[in-house]
């Protein structure tokens, strides 16, 4: 059975010993990064981390049932999340950030080694437990990096999509949104938001979605287009979708998708004719 108290006390009482040992290990492993981080801050934050870790060990299970999803590990996870953000912003790589955590193993092992032959101390299992804990926390640190990057990518994709889906005012009360390229679920959502906003700002009763430039559509996207049309109707506008490729028409029917609030036309011209007509407008050829 790992000795929780020994471990926790060691982190707090033998405080200075482990902190110094860790900072030395950080330097040795090249993960201290005092070139981009403030030396004093590194020390302060490392000290805090040790203290929070000790608290977590006190209240949690650290044998094989160790699970850092349990709430006792939340404070240290929160701290690590902030630490990872700081380090990433300073240009430190995920590997180095994880290395920073892993470097804590050495001084902890050094400390536990002293109790090797002590009565009632299960050195082996305590060592295993501390290794397990530090590994999990290092992995968590890396995952924080990854999640953050994913979030940034998603944000950038949204921004790119915003740029590539401009809404055009065709006439009074009629707007059009020509789409080019593959529509993924994220982009379809953006298209929807753009279109609906345009309906408000341009006071458009008719919104034409031209998907001539869209090679194919999957269920999610089709459902998104339907959602767009339904939402537009709720706002008091009519959606017209044109430029549907034969293949897409096939997919829509095969998937059993209903198109309740949508008017469809073969091409933009057809869509315009419909919109003009409904808007009470007509095009008249000039007398020759």
């Amino acid at each position: 059975m790992p000795n929780k108290e020994l471990l926790a006390e060691g982190l707090t009482d033998n405080h200075t010993g482990i902190l110094e040992g860790w900072i030395a290990a950080q330097s040795r492993e090249g993960v201290k990064r005092s070139d981009v981080l403030d030396e004093d801050e590194i020390r302060e934050r490392s000290k805090r981390l040790i203290a929070i870790l000790a608290d977590a060990i006190h209240s949690a299970d650290i044998d094989e049932s160790l699970d850092i999803e349990e709430s006792g590990w939340d404070p240290i996870k929160n701290f690590l999340r902030a630490e990872a953000e700081k380090r990433e912003d300073a240009g430190i790589s995920p590997t180095e950030a994880a290395g920073y955590i892993i470097a804590l193993k050495e001084p902890v092992f050094d400390y536990l080694r002293k109790y090797q032959d002590s009565e009632g101390v299960d050195t082996v299992n305590t060592l295993l437990a501390s290794s397990r804990i530090i590994d999990q926390l290092a992995i968590f640190t890396m995952e924080t990096y990854l999640e953050r990057r994913d979030a940034i990518i998603r944000r950038q994709q949204r921004e790119m999509t915003e740029l590539s889906t401009p809404v055009i005012q065709v006439w009074d009360r009629i707007v059009a949104l020509p789409l080019i390229g593959t529509l993924d679920s994220e982009r379809a959502q953006m298209v929807m938001e753009n279109l609906l906003e345009a309906i408000i700002t341009k006071e458009a009763e008719f919104a034409i979605l031209d998907i001539t430039g869209v090679p194919t559509v999957d269920t999610l996207v089709a459902q998104n287009l339907i959602k767009t049309a339904s939402a537009a109707r709720l706002m008091g506008a009519q959606c017209i979708i044109c430029g549907i490729k034969p293949k897409i028409a096939q997919i829509i029917v095969q998937l059993g998708i209903d198109l309740p609030d949508i008017i469809t036309r073969g091409d933009l011209q057809g869509a315009l004719v419909y919109a003009f007509d409904k808007a009470g407008l007509s095009l008249v050829a000039k007398a020759q």
């Binding site: 929160n78 902030a82 990854l146 999640e147 953050r148 994913d150 979030a151 944000r155 949204r158």
Partner: protein, 135 residues
């Protein structure tokens, strides 16, 4: 700021449902949520809060900041000590409707949320956990 806000309110009356919406709005604004995410989440909260008052015999709601998929998020936990839900699967399907109808509300709230957990023991109330990211 990581240790974010926490809000707590009782859900006993229709006015409390309105209050829950206001709190949810404030919570989402505190994490810089987009208008759409805010609207979705507050609507979901409204549904669950109303269910708690009307079908759960009253209860409580707790809101807190957290993280979901690396994004800042708000989690809302609703608890009641009412009759509980016998068949959760059925309750979540839109066709289910008791007198006055939980109808679309429960399934709808799930669709509007990034996180949705419901635990219930018949006779021992219900806990619903809702979460939404900021963007």
């Amino acid at each position: 700021m990581d240790s974010g806000g926490k809000w707590f309110l009782a859900l006993q009356t229709p006015e409390d449902v309105t209050r829950a919406r206001a709190v949810a709005t404030r919570a989402m604004e505190s994490i810089g949520a987009s208008v759409l995410k805010k609207t979705r989440f507050v609507t979901a909260v409204s549904e669950i809060a109303r269910n708690t008052v009307q079908h759960g015999g009253g209860g409580t709601a707790e809101f807190m900041t957290d993280h979901l998929r690396g994004e800042r998020a708000i989690i809302a936990v609703f608890r009641d000590t009412g009759p509980g839900i016998e068949d959760i699967e059925r309750a979540l399907s839109d066709r289910y409707s008791t007198a006055g109808g939980m109808g679309l509300g429960l399934g709808g709230a799930k669709r509007l949320s990034d996180l949705f957990n419901i635990t219930s023991t018949p006779g021992d109330g219900c806990e619903v956990r809702l979460g939404s990211t900021a963007i």
